[in-house]
């Protein structure tokens, strides 16, 4: 079975420091108003028993990406070999269909009105033997990067989706 790159997120270790988000923004020069990675707080229960859980979410580079299925222009593709999902800005017409389809609310639209999102730092990983800056930044190893099997990656997708829908 072919391996894919994936993020592993452990909410029990996340302290909501936003370092991953900031590392992404600064290392990838992401434009103002756009978030390729976002840290969210999710409240659970009610006062005084209230507690909370965190999620750091970027594109999941899904095993079966809904965005690709939805895109009318075939502007999104999943790279063979590493499973990274990328957007072809030439083809994208900015219709935002992918945003409706994505279970994680990931696609972003900035100045050029084309879809943009995390590309998993494909340059850094493939050509520089580096970790993505967001993962390198996490002080508690709540956010990890791995080369993994489809099945495990699907489980990860489901768990982040479960967090977001709490």
């Amino acid at each position: 079975m072919p391996l894919q790159y994936g993020f592993v997120f452990d909410p029990s270790k996340c302290i909501q420091c936003h370092s991953c988000e900031m590392a992404c923004k600064s290392w990838r020069d992401v434009e103002l108003g756009i978030h390729w990675r976002q840290v969210k707080n999710i409240w659970e229960n009610h006062y005084p028993e209230v507690t909370c859980v965190s999620v750091s979410v970027a594109c999941m580079h899904c095993v079966e990406p809904e965005c690709i299925k939805a895109c009318p222009e075939e502007a999104i593709q999943k790279l063979p070999g590493n499973g990274i999902v990328i957007v072809d800005k030439e083809k994208c017409i900015g219709c935002r269909t992918c945003l409706d389809a994505c279970p994680f609310g990931v696609p972003q639209f900035g100045e050029d009105e084309k879809m943009q999102k995390c590309d998993m730092c494909i340059q850094e990983i493939e050509y520089q033997n580096e970790l993505p800056p967001c993962v390198r930044a996490c002080p508690t190893q709540a956010l990890l990067f791995e080369e993994t099997e489809e099945e495990r990656k699907k489980v990860m997708e489901q768990s982040v989706q479960a967090l977001l829908s709490r």
């Binding site: 909410p11 029990s12 270790k13 996340c14 302290i15 909501q16 420091c17 936003h18 370092s19 988000e21 900031m22 590392a23 923004k25 600064s26 290392w27 103002l32 108003g33 978030h35 707080n41 409240w43 009610h46 006062y47 005084p48 209230v50 507690t51 909370c52 859980v53 965190s54 990983i125 050509y127 520089q128 033997n129 580096e130 970790l131 800056p133 993962v135 390198r136 930044a137 996490c138 002080p139 508690t140 190893q141 990890l144 990067f145 791995e146 080369e147």
Partner: protein, 739 residues
């Protein structure tokens, strides 16, 4: 394929990365919450532009991690809000009209004014306002001492108040607790996550939790730390002393006491036993809003656990009963057998690293010197305390207005913004209008610079190669990342040059920062150039941890002129005879904040909610850095945390603009419907005034109608301050409605 999760960059890896990306890499220290011994960083420069930051794995302080602020340093350095040249005010105070002047002109004007005032009114009419503890704090002291003034204005909101009460109770500072070994951890009035997330405490909390330690958090509202807490004790702001007294009531009456320790090492336990009978959990429930049952439950968990620690934060230092709260907690730690034992609260460790030679001129203090204090932060009998002689920050402004005991004539504000950093903003503005001469020195626009006579534009720590920093077992040289972007000097150079201009050159290494650093490095047998050859600094060994260091700490002498021991009986001062001799209560008591549910019930009809403010945030350092767009995007507007029930009752929705009104002022801010807060309490981050050019967000007014929490509180000298340690209250009652 990369090696999986090898974590942050080492120097070698940073060099390799910089080569691949055609950049240069400079190892240095982060300057976003300092300058102080910050986190080790690698700064990347491309074509002469500072572009990116990464954490330094070798640093024993941050182990390669950085907080959100650390990554966005370039945006702060290149901000359009940076000052460009020295300025002299030409308009009316507050108007904001200046003319550009040269450094020489600025230094001449300041020195000319100081010389004139020194001759005519005495050197003590100069006051310097303390920023938070900075690497340059001792240089400020040095200047004051060379000039002849004891008036270092320290703000009673952070760390020093706690240190005072700890040291006069157990002889040592109890910073944090033993997260590694504790089975029970009480996080009390502290935010271990946002207070240095990249440094020890957040990781320690995560590890403790994973190990199964029971986490109890005591605060009016929870943030991300709420996700780690097994029990949240939702206490009303400013009532920590009442809670601690009731916990003492429980542990004493249920005999959860380490009698051997108490018999051998405590003074005045019997008096305490009698004294605390007043403070029952039922009594505390009415004040703190914490159910009596929960108080008893938590006191029992803490009292019964062998390894239990209390991580006490700055939150408890923001009330007129601060000293009582800190003392009561310290006594609780001691009598339950949790002092300097594994898992408990530990005395500071020692290491093999020498201490750099101090630049303070403490040896010149005399009785006469202390007598000249315009408004002592601690009573004169306790001066100087560890950092030197000090007047309370707000009392400096009071002296300007009341001219008692004499008026301060010049205030220098080095990296501090009094209108947004200390309580009673209206009074501060009044005083700034009346003041003879006001100097502001900072890297960017400040909230009150429009009142300044002279404004000094400082280099950021990324534009200077000094000072070196030493903390714990690590010493490292700061390296310059880029040349200063404009006509900047560092704070150190400003003080040295001003010293030379005043004729104090001999005390200021004749203006040479290099000589200053080499002088400080004498105990290391090393020059700054030699230190600089170690790109990631030098790490020394730490001594193996020892416990129960009672004999050592219980016999420590105070830094006061008398040199008397902190603990006259060589034991824990449960009953404090030193305080008693000076006319203060020897046992902790309860004192209401100036406005509260139980202290001023007559106000509750018109002002039914309690307001307090957060001291730390995950994104900003105090009242700075709102101009950094990447940070501001995450938290663009000042938001009031309000419980859904309290919001619903007022027809307030998330993100609505709202008016928050207290008996002293009002704010216009946004509502954040917030599950993790007491329904009778609302909270806001302090320090809001600055806009963000890049995001098109304008400045907020400093007084009414703005978002400045300091404008909301009482500054009644009889009610708003702790009588012994001058801690300032940050609680009041408010009404909240839709704007």
């Amino acid at each position: 394929m990369p090696k999986n999760n090898k974590g942050p960059l080492t120097y070698e890896e940073a060099l390799a990365l910089s080569k691949k990306t055609r950049q240069t890499v400079i190892p240095t220290l982060c300057g976003m919450c300092g300058p102080t011994m910050g986190c080790g960083v690698y700064a990347f420069v491309k074509d002469g532009i500072f572009t990116k930051v990464s954490g330094m794995k070798e640093s024993p302080i941050n182990h390669g991690a950085l907080c959100a602020k650390g990554f966005v340093a370039p945006q702060w350095v290149y901000s359009p809000d940076r000052l460009k040249t020295p300025l002299q005010r030409i308009g009316e105070k507050g108007e904001g009209r200046f003319r550009e002047i040269t450094w020489n002109e600025a230094l001449e004007i300041i020195a000319g004014t100081l010389k004139h005032q020194k001759e005519k009114y005495g050197p003590e009419t100069l006051a310097m306002l303390s920023p938070a503890k900075r690497s340059y704090s001792d240089y400020l002291y040095r200047f004051l001492i060379a000039h002849g003034s004891p008036n270092y204005g320290h703000s009673g909101i952070c760390a020093i108040q706690k240190m005072f009460s700890f040291m006069y109770t157990v002889g040592g500072n109890l910073r944090g607790c033993d997260y590694q070994n504790a089975d029970v951890i009480l996080i009390w009035g502290r935010q271990p996550i946002y207070s240095g997330p990249s440094q020890g405490s957040a990781r320690a909390l995560v590890k403790a939790k994973q190990r199964g330690a029971k986490i109890i958090t005591i605060k009016p509202s929870v943030e991300a730390d709420g996700g780690f807490a097994d029990i949240w004790v939702p206490i009303r702001p400013g009532t920590d002393a009442a809670l601690a007294l009731a916990m003492l009531h429980v542990v004493v009456n249920e005999d959860l006491i380490d009698h051997e320790f108490v018999d051998t090492w405590c003074y005045g336990y019997d008096k305490l036993k009698e004294h605390i009978q007043l403070y029952t959990p039922a009594w505390a429930e009415t004040i703190t809003g914490v159910p009596a049952g929960q108080i008893i439950h938590v006191a029992r968990i803490y009292g019964k656990a062998e390894k239990a620690g209390i991580d006490l934060g700055n939150g408890v230092e923001h009330a007129p009963s601060a000293n009582d709260a800190i003392r009561a907690v310290t006594i609780l730690i001691a009598i339950t057998g949790h002092l300097d034992r594994p898992g408990g609260n530990l005395f500071p460790p020692s290491g093999e690293m020498p201490t750099p030679k101090s630049v303070h001129l403490r040896e010149r203090y005399t009785r006469e010197w202390v007598d000249k204090l315009v408004g002592p932060e601690f009573p004169k009998a306790f001066q100087p305390f560890v950092e030197g002689t000090s007047s309370a920050y707000y009392r400096i402004f009071d002296s300007v207005l009341t001219e008692k005991p004499y008026p301060i004539r010049t205030i220098i504000a080095p990296g501090t913004q009094p209108t947004v950093s200390t309580r009673g903003s209206k009074r501060v503005v009044e005083a700034l209008k009346k003041l003879d001469f006001y100097v502001v020195a900072d890297v960017a626009r400040t909230a009150d610079m429009d009142y300044a006579d002279i404004v000094i534009p400082l280099a950021t720590p990324y534009e200077t190669d000094h000072p070196f920093e030493a903390r714990g077992n690590w010493i490292m040289a700061r390296n310059r990342v880029i040349e200063p972007l404009a006509d900047y000097k560092s704070m150190y150079e400003f003080i040295l040059d001003l010293g030379a201009q005043m004729g104090y050159g001999a005390d200021f290494w004749n203006g040479s920062m290099m000589d200053s650093m080499n002088d400080q490095l004498t105990p290391f047998n090393m020059t700054i150039d030699e230190l600089r050859r170690h790109p990631t600094g030098i790490k020394y060994k730490s001594m193996p941890r020892t416990y129960e260091n009672y004999r050592e700490f219980f016999s420590k002498n105070s830094p006061g002129l008398s040199g008397k021991p902190f603990l006259p009986h060589g034991k824990v001062e449960i009953y404090n005879t030193t305080f008693e001799e000076e006319g203060f209560n020897p046992l902790p008591e309860w004192r209401e904040p100036p406005e509260s549910m139980t202290g001023t019930p007559e106000l509750v009809k018109d002002y039914p909610l309690i307001l307090s403010d957060y001291h730390t945030s995950k994104l900003y350092t105090a009242s700075w850095q709102r101009n950094v767009p990447h940070l501001r995007e995450i938290m663009p507007y000042p938001t009031l945390h309000i419980h859904p029930d309290a919001a619903l009752r007022r027809g307030i929705n998330n993100d609505d603009w709202i008016i928050v009104e207290s008996p002293h002022g009002w704010m216009k801010v946004k509502a954040e419907i917030y599950e993790g807060i007491r329904p009778d309490t609302v909270m806001i981050l302090h320090g809001w005034w600055q806009g963000c050019v890049e995001l098109g967000i304008r400045d907020f007014p400093i007084l009414d109608g703005g978002a400045n929490a300091n404008n909301m509180y009482s500054v009644d000298p009889d009610k708003a301050f702790d009588p012994l340690i001058t801690a300032m209250s940050s609680q009041t009652l408010v009404q909240v409605r839709k704007a």
